[in-house]
């Protein structure tokens, strides 16, 4: 699903440049649940940004579902993001003046799905994260865990190839974190490919594979025995 070869990225910081990614090679198969770990400054967020086409690499190859991702125009990038990727952010990033349902329907709007179909589909995904009764509530009326579940429903509504979660539990307490991870695991069980960036060991162990980043290179890449989050909920 994802293939990365010798990926480099550096940022200009005044006169000196900061080499953040120093040759990343890795592959993600269909249906994997991968945790990307590393301390702050390890380059994990940069990697996720490049994977999410929010940022471009300096050199190296990136292929997503057989499509080479290179030199994309803003419009093309937007189109690919919409088609291939679902995003879940640490701070949820829901649009605060739109109801839960409208938030979930937003990526479908950009896919030009007709209004009625969009509403139905959004409701269906909201139901999957267990928030159907909250459909017409504004984000400010939801708890942190509920917000993240809306965000996940929104990311999934567009039926992306890959779900990218950047510290999805970073702003949540541990019980809520496990609820969210439980949801992510269930989505993965349905066969969706998911990448989770985290610096929390317990969260990482709820994935099926852990990739450790340190100073811009992968220091460790191992398959693990998945801890089911459901048992903590």
């Amino acid at each position: 699903m994802i293939e990365i070869k010798d990926l480099h990225k550096s940022y200009k910081m005044g006169s000196n440049s900061l080499h953040v990614l120093k040759g990343i090679n890795f592959t993600v198969e269909d249906g994997e649940l991968v945790a990307i770990m590393g301390s702050s400054g390890s380059g994990k967020s940069t990697l996720l940004n490049i994977l999410g086409m929010l940022d471009g690499a300096d050199s190296g190859e990136y292929t997503l579902d057989g499509v080479p991702i290179k030199n994309l125009s803003e419009t093309k990038a937007a189109e690919y993001r919409n088609k291939f990727l679902g995003f879940v952010f640490q701070s949820f990033n829901l649009i605060n003046y739109k109801s839960a349902l409208e938030n979930v329907a937003l990526p479908l709007y950009y896919q030009k799905v007709p209004r009625k179909e969009r509403q139905e589909k959004a409701m269906q995904y909201l139901d999957r994260v267990g928030l159907k009764p909250w459909a017409n509530h504004l984000p400010s009326e939801l708890s942190g865990g509920q917000k993240q579940r809306v965000a996940i429903a929104r990311a999934m509504a567009a039926e992306p190839k890959v779900l990218l979660a950047d510290e999805p539990t970073g702003a949540l307490d541990s019980t809520t974190s496990y609820e969210v991870m439980d949801l992510i695991q269930k989505i993965n069980d349905d066969g969706n490919t998911i990448l989770v960036v985290t610096h929390e060991e317990d969260i990482a162990h709820m994935c099926k594979r852990i990739v450790h980043l340190k100073d811009g290179i992968i220091v460790e890449d191992k398959k693990i025995e998945q801890v089911r989050a459901g048992q903590y909920v």
Binding site: L54, A78, R115
Partner: protein, 420 residues
């Protein structure tokens, strides 16, 4: 078609409705600008209408020529010689100067602007008495209240008929009395009244109180022979009145042995000069109104752009999220520009409605059409003026909306989503 995309519009109204107070404050600038623009345009239209009303009935391309006394000795004649035009002069001038459309010779009883007593049943009126040809009506239109003006039959048969002014009527007749068909006496000759006219209060070359009789009747009744008092002339379209004026004077100076530099021997009055001055004045006024209105409108629209810039800044994160979810730059740009247009057009229409209300009120105060001597007549803007203002407003809002729109497009999702 995106124009009918319900979601796009609901997006736009959602964001605008999010901060109603600020949206209203932003709109205020355009509302006031539109009021100023429309009021200025309406008032200058009203002023233009007023002037047109003042000049109504007088051909704008008209010229009046009369004789005076010489001020230079010439060819053995002493200065101070009284010049007397003759009927043949009219023929010669008409023949030799093809630019003339209409030439109406006129003769006046007594001296210039002289008063003659007109009698009727013991009532009297001191009036100016003119011998006229019917064509004079083409130079200065007489607004007839009753009856008719002089016609060709009157001239050919030298009929003893007359057309009198309203003031003359009031002096000679009782209120409501029928004047048509009655006789009045001028210098011992009886004339039958065939028409009553109302003089133009503002541009009046006949005087307030005047009596018109056929030229030929005048000649016979008062023994004026072939003498001629003055000439009312209308020039052809596209011809400059001063040019014709000079030609006529040159011709007459040669004929009557007047010194070529003697400017006092022949008097003339060029109506087009006043007319042009007024037309220039109102055009400049309209131009200035539009100019001021345009820049006020621009200031208002810039205020909108400014607020939208702030909104875009505030919505950086939201726009970033939208971009991450698949919004293309085009969609983002379109939405911001649409917001700009919606605010501007809405505000503009409010301002327009208020301004039209104002103008209608002013119109109501100043009175109905047909009333004379009001400072503004029908102060209203025309449909083309409205359309131009409207298109201008929308155009400006699109142009100005591009600034915040491009700012929004420049937001890169990665920067917007960076955790603080």
């Amino acid at each position: 078609m995106w124009l009918f995309d319900r979601d796009l519009w609901s997006e736009v109204f959602n964001t605008l409705g999010k901060n109603v107070f600020r949206t209203i404050l932003t709109m205020l600038g355009v509302v006031i600008a539109m009021i100023i623009l429309i009021l200025l345009l309406g008032s200058s239209n009203g002023m233009s209408n007023m002037f047109q009303n003042v000049f109504a009935g007088t051909a704008s391309n008209s010229l009046f020529v009369w004789s005076q006394s010489t001020s230079e000795p010439y060819k053995g004649f002493e200065r101070g010689r009284r010049i007397q035009f003759h009927l043949e002069d009219a023929e010669i001038i008409k023949e030799q100067i093809p630019e003339i459309e209409v030439l109406a010779p006129r003769i006046e009883l007594g001296s210039h602007q002289g008063i003659t007593t007109v009698y009727r049943n013991g009532q009297t009126s001191g009036s100016s008495v003119y011998g006229d040809y019917p064509v004079i009506d083409e130079v200065t239109k007489k607004k007839l209240v009753e009856g008719r003006f002089l016609n060709h039959t009157d001239i050919e048969a030298s009929k003893k008929v007359c057309v009198i002014g309203e003031e003359t009527y009031e002096l000679l007749f009782d209120k409501g009395e029928n004047a048509i068909g009655s006789d009045v006496r001028i210098n011992g000759v009886f004339f039958t009244v065939v028409g009553i006219y109302r003089p133009n209060d503002n541009v009046n070359i006949d005087g307030e109180n005047a009596v018109f009789i056929p030229f030929t009747t005048f000649q016979k009744a008062f023994g004026s022979g072939d003498r001629l008092g003055w000439m009312a002339i209308a020039v052809k379209e596209g011809v400059k009145v001063p040019v014709v004026e000079q030609k006529i004077k040159k011709l007459l100076k040669t004929k009557y042995d007047i010194h070529p530099d003697d400017d006092r021997a022949i008097g003339s009055f060029d109506m087009s000069e006043i007319f042009n001055n007024v037309t220039t004045f109102t055009s400049v006024l309209k131009g200035v109104s539009f100019f001021i209105g345009f820049f006020t409108l621009m200031a208002g629209v810039i205020a909108i752009s400014n607020i939208l810039l702030i909104t875009v800044k505030e919505r950086t994160k939201e726009i970033g999220v939208r971009r991450a979810l698949g919004a293309t730059p085009k969609i983002v740009r379109r939405q911001i520009i649409l917001e700009s247009i919606v605010i501007t057009v809405f505000a503009g229409l409010i301002g327009f409605t208020i301004a039209i209300g104002f103008l209608a009120m002013i119109n109501g105060f100043l009175g109905e059409e047909g009333k004379e001597n009001v400072p503004l007549l029908n102060p209203m803007i025309s449909i083309p003026q409205f359309l131009v203002s409207f298109i201008l407003m929308v155009g400006l809002s699109v142009l100005i909306g591009l600034i915040p729109a491009n700012r929004a497009v420049r937001i890169r999702p990665i920067e917007a989503l960076r955790e603080e």
